[in-house]
């Protein structure tokens, strides 16, 4: 049942009050979903207060993946920070690498070569495909459709093979660094990428039939977690969650970075704002990313991929502050960086899209959802806990 009926003004701070439940009455039960639970994406705990089968309240507990990276970066020189930032979001590390590098480049006044920009865009789109594919699999798996889950993980593995060949590692690529990229594309990379893209497109046809045209999935996701369009700003919703609700917000078109303004990028706006609509939108975005990758591969200019920077042991970045953002698979991701003129960053604050999705939005949407569907709701919001507590 949609909670939008509770008030007409989306800005009314309904989130400021929390209803209380008398646990001693026997009507309610508190159960924990997580932190280790196949129905939770990542490590996060949901403290659910349920009445029978229906969730009445939820407190989201984060912190299981806190590694203190922002504090650690204050003790490390700028070039020493890039091995850390990729670990802030496990499924899509490249966005962190790119945002850190571009924040440093902006503060230091460095312009990276054209070829580096194109290949960075390629890397980001590949990371997006890897993440969204896994996300579709997670969505399927949360309803028990393990088959699609396995298919998607396998195809993500094909993309990880591409990354392994290009960057030297499967998950933590450490490939995008301040100044450009660590090395150029490997020979034959374009052909192998094309082969993987074809596999993924074929997969999407199968996923359409097995997942989206599936009666069980259709009934379970129908009306699950509806996000009304007016909620986008009050709840800070971004990414596919917002676009499925009807907003056209996408950093790639709103504040183009790298080469997106060269690619004539236009965001896809969805029609349905429930779990089904969000997943369908993600499937369409996977196909759009595949098209973008093909266009990028055909247009990459020649040239160097890196500019020479001063000795990293003594490199000092001029004092200043900046905020850079990118569109990750989950939405607007941003880095706020402050430098004080020394060789160490003063403050790096990572703003992950899941920060608002998992805490404020999720706690609101999960009211009235049955226990069985909590996992499905969480998967449909594409919550990635590492970027919440960093």
């Amino acid at each position: 049942m949609s909670t939008a009926a509770r008030q007409t003004d989306p800005w009314y701070p309904v989130w400021a009050e929390r209803p209380s439940f008398d646990l001693a009455s026997g009507k309610y039960l508190k159960i924990w979903q997580g932190p280790q639970h196949p129905g939770v994406s990542g490590n996060m705990a949901l403290e659910l207060t349920v009445e029978g089968d229906i969730v009445r309240d939820c407190r989201a507990h984060v912190g299981y993946l806190h590694r203190g990276f922002e504090k650690l970066m204050e003790r490390r020189k700028y070039m020493n920070c890039f091995p850390i930032v990729c670990r802030i979001c496990v499924p899509e590390p490249d966005f962190n690498e790119h945002l850190f590098a571009s924040a440093v480049e902006e503060l230091a006044g460095i312009e990276i070569p054209e070829r580096a920009k194109w290949i960075r865009t390629l890397t980001l789109e590949l990371a997006r495909i890897a993440f969204l594919t896994m996300g579709l699999g997670g969505q399927a798996g949360s309803f028990g459709l393990g088959t699609v889950g396995q298919w998607c993980i396998v195809h993500r593995d094909y993309v990880l093979d591409l990354f392994e060949e290009l960057t030297g590692h499967r998950i933590y690529h450490m490939y995008i660094i301040p100044g450009g990229l660590r090395h150029d594309l490997t020979p034959g990379f374009a052909e192998r990428t094309e082969a993987v893209l074809r596999k993924i497109e074929k997969l999407m046809d199968e996923v359409q039939k097995v997942l989206f045209d599936n009666a069980v999935i259709m009934s379970r996701t129908d009306g699950l977690g509806v996000i009304p369009r007016p909620w986008v700003d009050p709840y800070g919703i971004a990414g596919t969650n917002a676009r499925a609700a009807g907003s056209s917000r996408d950093v790639r078109s709103d504040s183009p970075y790298l080469v997106y303004d060269d690619l004539d990028f236009a965001p896809i706006v969805g029609e349905r704002s429930d779990a089904y609509g969000r997943s369908l939108l993600r499937k369409r975005e996977i196909l759009m990313s595949a098209g973008l990758i093909r266009r990028i591969l055909s247009r990459i200019p020649d040239g160097p991929v890196r500019v020479k920077l001063p000795n990293p042991l003594h490199w000092k970045v001029p004092a200043g502050e900046t905020f850079v953002r990118a569109e990750s698979g989950r939405g607007e991701m941003g880095y706020f960086m402050v430098s004080d003129g020394t060789g160490f960053p003063r403050r790096v604050h990572v703003r992950g899209p899941s920060y608002t999705h998992a805490m404020a939005l999720f706690e609101e949407l999960v009211r009235g959802v049955s226990i069985a569907d909590v996992a499905g709701l969480m998967a449909s919001l594409q919550i990635c806990p590492p970027e919440i507590e960093r």
């Binding site: 902006e106 800070g236 404020a360």
Partner: protein, 199 residues
């Protein structure tokens, strides 16, 4: 953007701190008017999207510098509102009623920096840390290295050598002794060294 900054200056005593790009400026606002400035920016300025609430610990100046980073989806612009609050009594008016996510940021700042936002729902609930008994860890005076050495035990059997010192010890130990002795002597006899330069 210029009209926005002008209004902020006139109505809320703001000051332009940095112009990073045409689409990104940073202003600072006095703490007693900051919450109203942020509300004005949301309601009248078109900055309806709260990007983040962050904080930089300027320990050498004795302040926490809060940052309210707002974004205008229509104009595709960002504005960062700095608010300086004293480090020894850090407290700031809560804006949890303006955005749903604000209470989460404020809860994290309370835990990580020790900044109080009176009235913010759940602001004192631990969010990221569990069973933490030390000072708020994002403060500059919290030394992570010292904490790690106190709390965890190091891997045994690790030791390192400095190339210059090790070579001196192995190749020219007596010359190294005299080099150090003469260097100390020179230092003592420079103006500003010890009183009578005696060895």
């Amino acid at each position: 953007m210029n009209e926005t900054i002008l209004t902020l200056e006139q109505r809320f005593g703001a000051r332009l701190e940095a112009h990073r790009r045409d689409s990104l400026v940073f202003v600072s606002v006095p703490a007693d008017r900051a919450a109203q400035a942020v509300a004005w920016l949301r309601d009248r300025g078109g900055f309806t999207h709260l990007v983040m609430i962050s904080c930089v610990d300027w320990i050498e100046r004795g302040t926490f510098r809060l940052l309210y980073l707002l974004s205008s989806p229509q104009e595709r612009r960002d504005i960062g509102v700095y608010v300086d609050i004293p480090r020894d009594a850090p407290s700031m008016e809560s804006i949890h009623h303006l955005w749903a996510g604000a209470k989460v940021y404020q809860r994290e700042l309370r835990e990580m920096f020790g900044i109080d936002f009176p009235g913010s729902p759940g602001v004192n609930d631990p969010m990221i840390l569990e069973g933490w008994h030390d000072i708020p860890p994002m403060r500059r005076d919290f030394d992570t290295l010292a904490y790690a050495e106190r709390t965890y035990y190091p891997r045994e059997g690790r030791s390192t050598r400095d190339p210059a010192a090790d070579t001196a010890e192995r190749v020219y130990p007596t010359d190294e002794e005299l080099r150090r002795g003469i260097a100390d002597l020179a230092r003592r006899t420079y103006p500003g060294g010890s009183k009578d330069g005696e060895s």
